[in-house]
Structures are given as C-alpha cells and as structure tokens.
Amino acid sequence: MKNPLESIWGTIICGLILTAILYWAAQALLH
C-alpha cells in the first residue's frame, strides 16, 4: 500500500481523519 503522505490529497485526507479521531477521543476521555 502506498504511503498516503506521498500525495498532497492523501496528506489532507489523513489530516481530516486525524482531526475527527482526536476530537472523538478527547470527548470520550473527558466525559
């Protein structure tokens, strides 16, 4: 599988997914 950070759009998609993961993780940990 190709590293998603090889392409600019792969990087942006990873960033969006990471934002969602961190948001839900923070909410789950704090409530």
């Binding site: 990087t11 942006i12 960033g15 990471l18 923070a26 704090l30």
Partner: protein
C-alpha cells in the same frame, strides 16, 4: 487591558501565519515546482535563492510561534499540556504544535541542509535526506489540520464542543 497576553496573542498569530503559510508554500508550491524545474534544468534558482530564505523564516517563525503560545498560556501552561478540565482543546493543539516544532528543527532543517548543500553529504545521503524531509514536511501538514482545529477553537471549545 492586559498587555502581555494581548501582545503574545498578536505575535502568536503573526508568527503562526508565517510558519504555517510557509509550510503550505513548501507542500503546495515548492515541492511540485522543484519536480517540474528539475525536468527542465531550472531548479538551481529555487534551491539557491528561494529555499534557503523560505527555510530561514520557516524555522524561526516556528520558534516565535511556540514561545508566544507558551507566554499566552502563562500559568495555565501545565494545565493545558496535561489536559486539565476546560483545557483539553487548547492542550491538544499545544501538543500538536510542539510535535510540529520538533519536526522542523530535528527532521526538516537538518535534512534540508544536506539537500541544499549547506552541509556535506554524499548522493546517497542526499537521497535519504530528501525522503525524510518530504515525509516530515507532509507529516507537519497533516498535523496542521487538527492543530488549527483545536487551536483556533481555543477556549470556545469548552462551550461549543464540550472540550
């Protein structure tokens, strides 16, 4: 008006715009431009005159951004980094910004010095440096998305997102 936080916030934004602006310049403009320039033999103009200047402002604006951010947190610094109640949003942003600062100084800058000929390196070392610098830069670009989400929401995350 409390002048220190106001000044720190202003400097944090100014330096942050320069840092992340240059990060996006590298990823959206310079990397593809260098690829095209290498094909027609015009890359020297970028590597000699543009990249060193961009890297100078990039790495030092990163330091100024972090220091101004730390000043802005003030006595809440430890509370933010340990995700205390009401500080989780800005705490996550602060951790992401700190990781990005580390990437700039520990991975991107030392490898760019090899790539641009500021440090002696063999062709094999330069090829490896290109790979590490690109991936570190892309990692920072990826981290900038959640970093700005959590930073820009800042204190309001407590009310809006429950963080």
């Amino acid at each position: 008006m409390d002048y220190v936080p106001a000044l720190a916030r202003w400097v944090h934004f100014l330096a942050g715009v320069m840092w992340i602006g240059l990060l996006y310049y590298f990823n959206f403009v310079q990397v593809p431009a260098l690829k095209a320039a290498a094909a027609d033999g015009t890359a020297a103009g970028i590597t000699k005159h543009v990249a060193p200047r961009a890297l100078l402002y990039f790495r030092w604006s990163a330091v100024v951004t972090w220091l101004a951010g730390a000043t802005l947190l003030g006595n809440q610094f430890v509370n933010a980094f340990t995700f205390q109640k009401g500080m989780a949003g800005i705490g996550i942003g602060a951790w992401l910004g700190t990781i990005m600062l580390f990437n700039v100084w520990a991975l991107i800058w030392p490898n760019q010095q090899k790539i641009l000929g500021m440090k002696p390196a063999t062709d094999e070392e330069k090829a490896k440096a290109r790979r590490v610098a690109l991936l570190a830069s892309r990692a920072n670009m990826m981290l900038s998305l959640p970093m700005l989400f959590f930073m820009a929401g800042g204190w309001s995350h407590r009310g809006v997102f429950g963080l």
